[in-house]
């Protein structure tokens, strides 16, 4: 399977099954497109690449269409080069190997809902104002302690374990955050584990002491800011309706200044009300932040803030603007990282990881303040998805685990046909479920955006390679 596209005047071909990426001159690109069209398995007269490339010269059915534009020599040269790629398994490659997925997964990551309370009332909050629809409460240390025991007990031989302090707003229960970190650290050596802590915060409660602590203990921190003050404050406000921008931006700046190179993200959400979100990314960059993520809101399609199919053309334009801006920065040698354009084509995740994705419900679970275990933070509070409770025992309901185990690209028919499958891993199980009642059926709007982002990310790599020449 191939994916061909032109972006920023660069012709790109992604060979899906091998993972190869090629940049083609126009004659080769057009010829590749013609060959790809006749190799479409859905066509009655489908032809195999093998048959086409067994020819010594470019078959007339393709050559006749191109020779008047490019001349015979260029077309033959293009055919010969495409043939070489095909023979090296870098074009029209097929999956000729098994992807072996394990029968059982150790649990290696926890989303610890340290507080189901929040000091903001963001308009689009999927956690229903922070309490996930189950009342405002903080996680007692006893529950957090059991959660750490649980992940150690269920992690098998996995060395690296992740604990994400999430909410609600985790800083509301900061003392328990600290106690939990101390407790986990105290067990690392004995159990040969390495804990990595992360925390997501709206910033309201940050002070010097907490910032120092975060910069010392958290391997990553997510700082929530939606961009321009008007955009942020229209949706991120407190109980009294007061926007958060002025209170958080100075703190975020101070925290990041003292981060000493550790990971962080300033993370925003865009909604149907700020489809010009490239301006928000630029605004965040102008504040001095160079690790930025601005992501589509997740809401029911009937919500006025929801992203729906009619918004996609505008969103694609914005992603293109971001690509142009980032390409300019690349040329100037300036570092700027937009989370959704990050892609490592060479040493990225293995194919096993790529087909199984986030591991929600198998390798990764969320724990609520009451100790309930859910497949991930997005399923928290949905009683049908309760896997167990860490206060009862460390078991998880097998039939649910088995259900989530199926959630791989290999079990999603729509994904198997999609060129982006090894980059998106079949999307978010919760989005899929909320939209279709089935974790295996992709949420199309998310798919469209993901495909566009992957195109942009690969295009930026291609542009960088072209600039190097």
């Amino acid at each position: 399977m191939l994916h061909l596209y032109t972006q920023n005047d660069v012709n790109i071909v992604l060979d899906v099954e091998s993972g190869s990426v090629h940049v083609l001159e126009p004659a080769a690109y057009e010829l590749c497109g013609l060959i790809n069209a006749v190799c479409d398995g859905d066509r009655a007269d489908c032809c195999s690449p093998k048959t086409i490339f067994s020819e010594k010269a470019c078959p007339a059915e393709f050559k006749d269409k191109l020779v008047s534009v490019y001349g015979e020599e260029q077309v033959e040269e293009a055919f010969s080069e495409l043939k070489e790629l095909f023979e090296e398994d870098l074009l029209f490659a097929e999956r000729d190997y098994e992807i072996n997925l394990p029968d059982d997964y150790p649990i290696k990551a926890l989303c610890l809902h340290i507080s189901h309370d929040c000091n903001l009332r963001c308009k689009y909050c999927f956690a229903e104002g922070g309490d996930f629809g189950h009342g405002r409460k903080n996680m007692p240390f006893e529950v957090a302690k059991k959660a750490i025991d649980f992940v150690i007990a269920r992690s098998g031989t996995r060395h690296n374990l992740e604990i994400d302090f999430f909410g609600g707003e985790p800083l509301i229960n900061f003392d328990v955050v600290k106690q939990t970190v101390d407790y986990a650290r105290s067990l690392e050596k004995e159990h040969n584990k390495n804990f990595r802590f992360t925390l997501t915060t709206n910033g309201i409660l940050l002070n010097d002491e907490i910032m120092d602590y975060i910069n010392r203990e958290m391997s990553n921190v997510v700082l929530s800011l939606d961009g321009r003050k008007s955009v942020n404050d229209a949706v991120r406000y407190d109980v009294g309706g007061n926007g958060s921008y002025d209170r958080i931006v100075p703190k975020f700046k101070k925290l990041v200044e003292n981060r000493n190179g550790k990971d962080y993200y300033v993370r925003g959400t865009f909604t149907s009300q700020n489809l010009d979100f490239a301006a928000d990314v630029e605004h965040i960059r102008s504040l001095g932040f160079d690790q930025v993520s601005v992501e589509p809101v997740v809401l029911d399609k009937n919500d006025p803030l929801a992203i729906n199919p009619e918004h996609l053309p505008r969103i694609f334009e914005e992603y293109q603007t971001l690509t142009d801006n980032m390409s300019d920065l690349q040329k100037k040698g300036e570092f700027f990282n937009f989370f959704h354009f990050m892609i490592d084509l060479e040493q990225g995740p293995c194919v096993v990881k790529r087909v199984k994705g986030c591991g929600c419900g198998t390798e990764y679970v969320a724990i609520t303040p009451d100790g309930d275990i859910f497949p991930c933070h997005r399923f928290a509070g949905m009683d049908d998805f309760k896997l167990g409770n860490v206060l009862d025992n460390f078991e998880t309901k097998q039939e649910l685990v088995d259900y989530f185990k199926k959630s791989t690209v290999l079990n999603k028919p729509e994904c198997e046909k999609c060129w982006a499958k090894y980059y998106c891993s079949g999307g978010c199980a919760a989005n899929n479920f909320n939209c279709h009642g089935d974790i295996l059926k992709p949420h199309e709007v998310s798919c469209e955006m993901e495909r566009k982002r992957i195109e942009c990310a690969i295009a930026l790599k291609a542009l960088a390679a072209c600039d190097e020449e």
Partner: protein, 49 residues
Amino acid sequence: MKQIKTLIKKTLKKSACKGGCGECQTSCQSACKTSCTVANQKCENEARK
């Protein structure tokens, strides 16, 4: 090659051989969390490097 520049040669099949160790960071396909989306993950498998 004159008309084609290959940016990345085949990586997926190779990664299947020693892949699946699970030491990498958890990804989040909804990306509302601290974790990475799968395309941008770092491999932490020492045997693959």
